[in-house]
């Protein structure tokens, strides 16, 4: 049994909530859990801690690098810098049909990349877009606010189970601390987001396990393990460094992507 939310809009939320609750109650948990990446949990962390003795991740962070263009190694093309692969082992283990689909996506990326329609970026792509994001850390919830399209995630640390088999652009995230690593298990990510601007994609079977391991007060080792048996031959992991933005009085600004759609639309029609 599966609940599919086809289109989500204003009213959906309440209906959705009711649906979600019903599903949560009605459904047994599905079994498989993505294999955790082989990140170190040894605690070399000597940075600041919260009152509940967790590493203090509060603040504004951003990834550098070219993962948002292409997770895999690539030479420069016009407007796009060259970059190393962030994929462990170098390449994404696609099933043959899926590799062909990815290559087709790449050809059509200027029209088919969901970001160009201002859709929410999904997970893990939100993390390494060239926009900052802000972590707000509390004992039972970690909030992440993304500058791009004001996407948000609330990561529940309460131990409550996922609302499974829903279809959220940013997924349903549950986390826990393993030593000094925040481990976030996200499901219900749907099949409409991409991993990057190069057409790397997934199905609605996607599960993502992220590991935020602070190195020091200003760096996080970020790893995300991607598990999607419909598309890949095995789970695979990306990793990169997240950098704390240190500018004084920095705050997230707006990238209200939908406004840019209307800008374009209204200008084209010659109306205000």
């Amino acid at each position: 049994m599966k609940t599919r939310i086809i289109t989500v809009g204003a009213v959906t939320g309440v209906a959705l909530l009711i649906g979600a609750m019903a599903v949560a109650v009605a459904q047994a948990q599905r079994g498989t859990t993505p294999r955790a990446p082989a990140a170190s949990t040894s605690s070399a962390y000597n940075g600041p801690r919260t009152p509940d003795h967790k590493p203090d991740l509060n603040g504004i962070w951003q990834a550098l690098g070219t993962a948002h263009w292409n997770l895999e190694a690539h030479s420069a093309t016009e407007g796009i810098p060259a970059g190393f692969s962030v994929v462990e082992g170098g390449t994404i283990p696609y099933q043959p049909w899926a590799l062909a689909k990815r290559n087709e996506n790449l050809q059509k990326r200027l029209t088919d990349d969901p970001l160009r329609k201002c859709y929410m970026p999904g997970v893990p792509r939100a993390t390494y877009l060239p926009f900052p994001f802000e972590i707000t850390q509390m004992p039972n919830h970690v909030g992440i606010a993304y500058e791009f399209a004001h996407a948000t995630r609330t990561i529940f640390l309460t131990g409550a189970a996922h609302l499974e088999d829903l279809d959220f652009w940013m997924g349903d995230a549950r986390g826990k601390w393993e030593g000094d690593t925040l481990v976030v298990d996200t499901v219900s990510l749907g099949d409409k987001t991409w991993f990057d601007a190069a057409g790397n994609f997934h199905s609605d079977a996607l599960k993502v396990v992220e590991r935020f391991t602070p190195i020091d007060a200003t760096h996080i080792n970020y790893a995300a393990t991607i598990d999607d048996a419909k598309v890949f031959t095995r789970p695979w992991t990306i990793s990169m460094i997240l950098y704390r933005r240190l500018e004084k009085n920095l705050e997230l600004l707006d990238y209200e992507c939908a406004e840019h759609v209307y800008d374009k639309l209204f200008k084209k029609s010659g109306k205000p």
Binding site: G9, T12, L129, F266
Partner: protein, 339 residues
């Protein structure tokens, strides 16, 4: 078995309804033109004084963190005083929604009338702003003047705190900040408490730039630097104006504009462990002849098992906009994030 929930941003509008005021204000309705809603008046607004002392966060702030639901405003606030008598138009014919589908508030949640100042319920619009508002009302079915909530634009302040179909809020606190996530359209605000200066006026945000401080147990937030890009950026609003209600009336709800001078002063007053009263003083010298205020019991602590769900408004709204305004946005692509 699959359950399809197919809906669209526009539906919101139908429920949001004009910001009309019901008789439970205790006011008697003055005579009104035939077919028009009565012009409401309000008891003088008295700011509540709370003796409740919230617990403290580790950094010493009054702790108001947690998950909340919007307290429904009195029925007249969200529904028109006069049922729509004109034939349904594209903006209201396609969807229906039962208010009974709202998540149930916890037992004992306080729902009380709004406070309004000035109490005659007339928004002190300048002559120019009144003309603009009439223009917005007259063109309300064109996409350029459609309720910004239906376009899935960020609804700004205080509009994001007016009960809408999706009614969850999450208040986070960390040293130096209060952060609010709105379930509606996954909006958020980060409220800096460290006394920092406002941002350069060239930087605009759809939800404004928030600077807060605690006055005792009351969170006071100055919000400035609002975006003013579209005819759909409103102070408050609803899908459509109630026919017959004067355009300067608060009860019309629809299309109250603001300018680049727009400024809101919010007060979040914890009344008890489960309830927060909200006040918004609205100032804009280019639009209003004097400041005006709306206030209500806004936040009720959510039931323990409440889980906010994703409200992806813009994603999938193209069919809705096509239906409502005959405008097809599905082919529009923007450069993200390059150029």
């Amino acid at each position: 078995m699959r359950t399809a929930i197919a809906s669209a941003g526009a539906v919101a509008a139908v429920l949001l309804m004009p910001f009309a005021v019901a008789a439970q204000d205790g006011s008697s309705a003055p005579a009104a033109p035939r077919g028009a809603a009565p012009a409401p008046s309000y008891p003088p607004y008295v700011r509540p004084v709370s003796s409740f002392v919230p617990p403290r966060t580790p950094d010493g702030q009054p702790d108001i963190s947690g998950l909340y639901l919007a307290i429904p405003l009195p029925r007249g606030i969200e529904t028109p005083l006069v049922p729509l008598t004109r034939p349904p138009n594209r903006a209201n014919s396609e969807f229906s929604f039962s208010l009974n589908e709202r998540p149930k508030l916890p037992e004992g949640a306080i729902a009380r009338p709004v406070g309004v100042d000035p109490p005659d319920g007339r928004i002190p619009l300048t002559a120019e702003a009144l003309a603009r508002r009439k223009d917005i009302i007259a063109r309300q079915e064109q996409i350029e003047y459609l309720d910004g909530r239906v376009l899935c634009l960020a609804t700004g302040v205080p509009r994001s705190t007016i009960p809408a179909p999706v009614v969850g809020y999450q208040i986070f606190q960390k040293p130096g900040y209060v952060v609010i996530f709105y379930e509606q359209n996954h909006l958020y605000r980060t409220i800096a408490l460290d006394g920092r200066a406002p941002l350069d006026p060239n930087i605009r945000k759809a939800m404004g730039v928030s600077r807060g401080h605690w006055e005792g147990n009351v969170l006071v937030v100055e919000v400035t630097n609002f975006t003013n890009n579209f005819s759909n950026n409103w102070v408050i609003g609803a899908i459509s104006a109630t026919p017959g209600v004067p355009a300067e009336s608060l009860t019309t709800g629809h299309g109250i504009p603001h300018s680049d001078q727009y400024r809101v002063t919010e007060r979040y007053t914890p009344i008890d462990a489960n309830t927060i009263h909200y006040e918004a003083k609205i100032e804009d010298p280019k639009v209003f002849t004097q400041p005006w205020t709306i206030a209500y019991y806004a936040f009720a602590r959510a039931p323990k098992d409440y889980v906010p769900v994703e409200y992806a408004c813009f994603e999938g709204n193209d069919k809705n906009l096509l239906l409502m305004t005959n405008t097809d946005i599905s082919g529009v692509r923007v450069n993200v994030p390059e150029e």
